[in-house]
């Protein structure tokens, strides 16, 4: 057990060191990611300036801005750049063979690599994030109650796991199709619109709204932000977090199942 923990610890350290090599690029990338928020603030300011009421679909202008900023936090946890395409590439060019002959689990290794990636990302991104949130503090209604904050943190951690296992499952589809770029494209499109990244999902009219409610995508951006802004009723708070955890469990099982099925049909040749 201890030996196994040491192996995982070494892998994690390795992944962190690898990530730190490109910290300059990281800082630039993180800061640039706030730029679309600027245009959203101006757009929504113009929308609210035109409307007669200062509330739309339960949001004030400040709520909308706070919402966009909070989805940035959620996406800092749930987005997995290059994960699915990386797994698919490994399957296609045969690198996946090393996981078959070494006593290292593909998903476990990818998860640690991703945690390493995220830890470095948070260590660097906390600067730009803190600066932007401090500058924009006027848009926020203030810190929510302790229980709500706890649910918010839990939803963020779960959104990381959901994002990881969902995208890994997509990547593992590469065992069957080899080229998954069009699958990924469809996923990205749906993710962008139905995770709440582009707009608060509350503005969507029924029946679309109900359909989106049943998708797991909303937990990747909308849900943590909605908890923070008090859009999730307190009596349903933990139930909703439980549903998110159930989705995570579903994708963990799916991911494992796809990996085993994939390994069974995979043939590797050459060195």
């Amino acid at each position: 057990m201890i030996v196994r923990a040491q192996v995982w610890w070494t892998i994690l350290q390795m992944c962190i060191a690898e990530r730190l090599a490109y910290r300059g690029d990281f800082i630039l990338g993180t800061t640039m990611r706030f730029l679309p928020i600027v245009t959203q603030i101006f757009l929504w300011t113009a929308v609210f300036a035109s409307a007669q009421s200062d509330q739309m679909a339960g949001y004030s202008r400040n709520d909308v801005v706070a919402y966009y900023l909070l989805t940035m936090v959620a996406r800092a946890f749930s987005s997995m750049p290059g994960l699915a395409s990386g797994i698919a590439t490994q399957i296609r060019d045969g690198q996946i063979k090393k996981f078959l002959i070494q006593p290292i689990d593909l998903i476990g290794f990818s998860l640690l690599a991703r945690i390493g990636h995220k830890l470095v990302y948070y260590a660097i991104a906390i600067g730009p994030f803190a600066a932007v949130f401090y500058l924009c503090r006027g848009f926020f209604p203030g810190w929510p109650a302790g229980e709500v904050t706890a649910a918010f943190v839990a939803s963020l951690v779960l959104s990381f796991l959901l994002g990881f296992f969902l995208e890994s499952s997509l990547g593992l589809a590469g065992f069957w199709t080899l080229e998954i770029s069009s699958l990924l494209f469809v996923y990205m499109l749906f993710n962008f619109f139905f995770s709440g990244h582009m707009f608060p999902l509350d503005i969507v009219p029924d029946p679309w709204r109900t359909a989106i409610e049943y998708l797991p995508l909303k937990y990747l951006a909308y849900f943590p932000a909605a908890i923070f802004l008090g859009k999730v009723p307190e009596n349903r708070l933990w139930l909703e977090v439980g549903v998110e955890a159930a989705w995570v469990a579903f994708f963990i099982v799916l991911c494992r199942w796809l990996m085993h099925r994939g390994f069974n049909r995979y043939s590797g040749f050459g060195g």
Binding site: D25, L28, G29, M32, R33, L35, P36, V38, T39, F42, L43, T45, A46, V47, S50, A51, Q52, S53, Q55, M56, A57, S182, F185, V186, L189, F192, F193, M198, F199, I203, V204, P205
Partner: protein, 327 residues
Amino acid sequence: MRKGEGGRGNAEGGKGQGDDGDNGAAAARLPSSFRLPPSSAQAASASLGFSDYAGVFLMFARNSLIRDMTFRANFIIETISSLSWAVMNLGFYALVYNLMEHAGGRTIAGWTQHQFFVFIATTILVNSLVEALFMENAEELSELTRTGGLDFVLLKPMDPQFLVSVKKISWASLGKVLLAVALLAYSLPRIEGLQLSLLQLVLYPLYIVLGTLILYSIMIALAATSIWLGRNQSLYDFWFYLTNFSRYPMEIYSGRFGAPLRHAFTFVVPILVVINVPAAILAKPMTANNPDKLLLGAFAVAAAVGSLVISRWVFTRALMSYRSASS
């Protein structure tokens, strides 16, 4: 580019471009002792006329179409996917207008819903032109620099900026042009009190071309930095974040922070005129007593010319720092 490095026509460098179906392979067959001084290539490029460039452009377009048609399924998927982004985006604005109308609002920064749809159609038009003609090529420039494949571009007796800029044409991106035209056809008759004049119909395509040229200038100047940096992978990200500002009516940038932003993106990096000017020409009734609009229209012409000149300068300067690679 340094003297004496002009003619590295060896077989190894040819591999970098092998899949393009161009004459990279022919160049690769040149004996390794073959050396063409840069000055001869430049002299030859000066003697070529417009028809030669048009001919080469048409050949590039034809080759790209053949290439796209070879991988037909991929072409169809790419067309559908770029269309679906545009449609989803349209859906978002339809939602926002719906929401706003319920709250008693009618316009976003002076743009009614159908005027705004014309704005979006213009955005789609300009962006699909940029994506179809230049995007892939600008991304490729970084790779050409890194692998040394730029040698073959410099060897040819044509303007290197021209060769680098239009080598591949992404026909799949042109599918969006049809969507934009359909959106224009839907929205224009629904704009209250709009009487289209011949002048508007002439100026609109002209300003679409000018807008495309402004975006091209910024893109090629950004791509040229990869010659200095060796590699520039975040080019597309930076491009996306920068041009994101141009996708909204310029009137939304107002107030203490908005006004300076609007001026910077109009007069320093003129991305705000790219969509705003043609969209306003078509969607908002032209009135002679609107001097600001006329001035902005005149400025857009100057901005397009200025951007092209500056980007040309940046590209030429960057090329002088090119030191080849490999071999």
